[in-house]
Symmetry: C2
Subunit: 305 residues, 2 copies
């Protein structure tokens, strides 16, 4: 079947705002291919291309794409079917003022290392090491409720979540805050560690095959206030905050809400159960807000939808 | 072959201090079975047994066990071959003043829930859910360098690491700070989530089969300053600090040291590599210091020993 392709050349945003103008409108159930450029807009093509500071515009997110049926209170499901790298190299960089170890005496910034793509898109090379390509969508979100967030920031609308689980084979759900939802995504990585310590993965242009579905809010028993990831084995709440501790609290509270709704237990029993199975995972520790997830295996949690 | 059994009834500590008296002395290569009592010293046997505050003494650690050959600068390898639950129930509890969501309006403390052991030790039951028994050693460590730490606290000597990877099939390595190393362990859980959010897993008495090996410090190219976990697939540095951010920094710096020694790259390239593969993981967010690990797949990191 033919998929509609939506390219960053048609439109991309650097800020998620409550009022966004769609570059494409699709119906619930649409299968589309979204083409993204790399998070640095092509500025780093060789190791000599270093960045003295974080650019004013980063993480271009292709879109927004309006969903015809989506209204505030609904949930948008984004099933990620495939992600293909779309250029012959990625790049991993350090920038002064950014990254977990920013300012440490042994860490040099700025530095850029390109990571050539080999094996027909299956491998990148760093130093003399071959690393399997496992592409991640770094920035993905919808129009927020009230405030605006640049594409460097993660929050309840999504944005710069930098979460390794946002990858092929999984689905991510967002609360719909505005008519049409207004989905946009970009900032893909050919590979990324949990934490994204130096501030980037291997940043690269990609093509992303997704199926978009609007879930009627009235059919859902629990409030979905932040992004939620579904893997084959687990549900993972995703929360961003000023500190990792605060993000852990939010992600755990969201997991507790799901367990309460599913099992009919009170919050304290759900809290105890959350302390026995799955657990807290780090998405990224480098963006203006940091991101954590709380995984609950599907063996202990049914679909909230 | 016969294993020496070392029981908590022979000796257990509630504080790791630089000067500890051994309850047993073994040679490098010894295979022993260590018997531990539950972290609450049996105080919670039914849901009616609630704890109003954190007891002054918790996490009794069976030992210390002296290794004849161990001297400061060496590394102690503890290979965990098996962990068997040794009683018919575990217990998960909330205590006022403890836990990630301590003080939240919907969370009740104190509360205790016993988790019966079923299926010949293969399963615990919480609410109406069956959870596979996957025992974790919560507290494990050696005599520290200079300061003393109660068994509620994790630090560079180990202690209350509450790390799910400290389980059967894996090994954990400690820097040796004192003659004999002085290993002690306890505080096992029948099951525990990464994060240990409510403050406990399913606390339970266990029997632990380990093989203990002293690695001569002069044979090692990299300083091992904190605990290090080996799984079948990865090396994981383990670091504890006041905040998760600080713990992430320490764990990442330790991983970088290992990558630098293995690959001969500089710290910045190692930092970039650490940002592409494996990544940061949460051990626990509830103890007086919190604990994080940095996993590096063995595909990218050889044994430092």
């Amino acid at each position: 079947m033919s998929r509609e392709a939506i390219s960053h050349e048609t439109g991309a945003i650097y800020e998620f705002t409550p009022e966004l103008d769609a570059i494409a409108t699709v119906q619930s159930g649409a299968q589309v291919t979204i083409e993204t450029r790399d998070s640095l807009d092509g500025a780093v093509q060789s190791d000599a291309d270093v960045l003295e500071s974080v650019p004013e515009e980063v993480n271009a997110a292709t879109g927004p794409i309006a969903l015809e049926e989506a209204e505030p209170g609904d949930v948008l499901r984004v099933e990620i079917e495939a992600i293909r790298v779309a250029e012959d190299r990625g790049r991993v960089i350090t920038i002064d003022g950014f990254g977990l170890l920013d300012g440490h005496e042994d860490i040099e910034s700025p530095r850029s290392r390109t990571t050539p793509v080999e094996d027909g898109g299956e491998t990148i090379v760093f130093d003399d090491l071959e690393i399997p390509v496992e592409p991640v969508i770094g920035t993905i979100g919808v129009a927020p409720e009230a405030d605006s967030y640049t594409t460097l920031v993660p929050h309840d609308h999504g944005g710069n979540l930098d979460t390794t689980d946002v990858t092929a084979g999984n689905a991510i759900y967002f609360p719909v805050f505005q008519s049409g939802a207004m989905l946009a995504m970009g900032d893909c990585k050919a590979a990324m560690a949990d934490g994204e310590m130096c501030g980037t993965g291997s940043e690269i242009a990609c093509e992303i095959d997704v199926t978009l579905e609007v879930i009627d809010g009235e059919t859902i028993d629990v409030d979905i206030e932040r992004p939620l990831v579904e893997t084959p084995d687990a549900w993972k709440t995703v929360a961003s905050a000023e500190t990792l501790e605060e993000a852990c609290e939010l992600a755990n509270l969201d997991a507790i809400d799901l367990l309460v709704a599913d099992h009919g237990v009170d919050e304290t029993d759900a809290y105890m159960l959350s302390s026995l199975v799955g657990g807290l995972e780090i998405s990224q520790v480098v963006d203006p807000l940091v991101t954590v997830r709380n995984a609950v295996p599907k063996a202990y949690l049914s679909s909230p939808f």
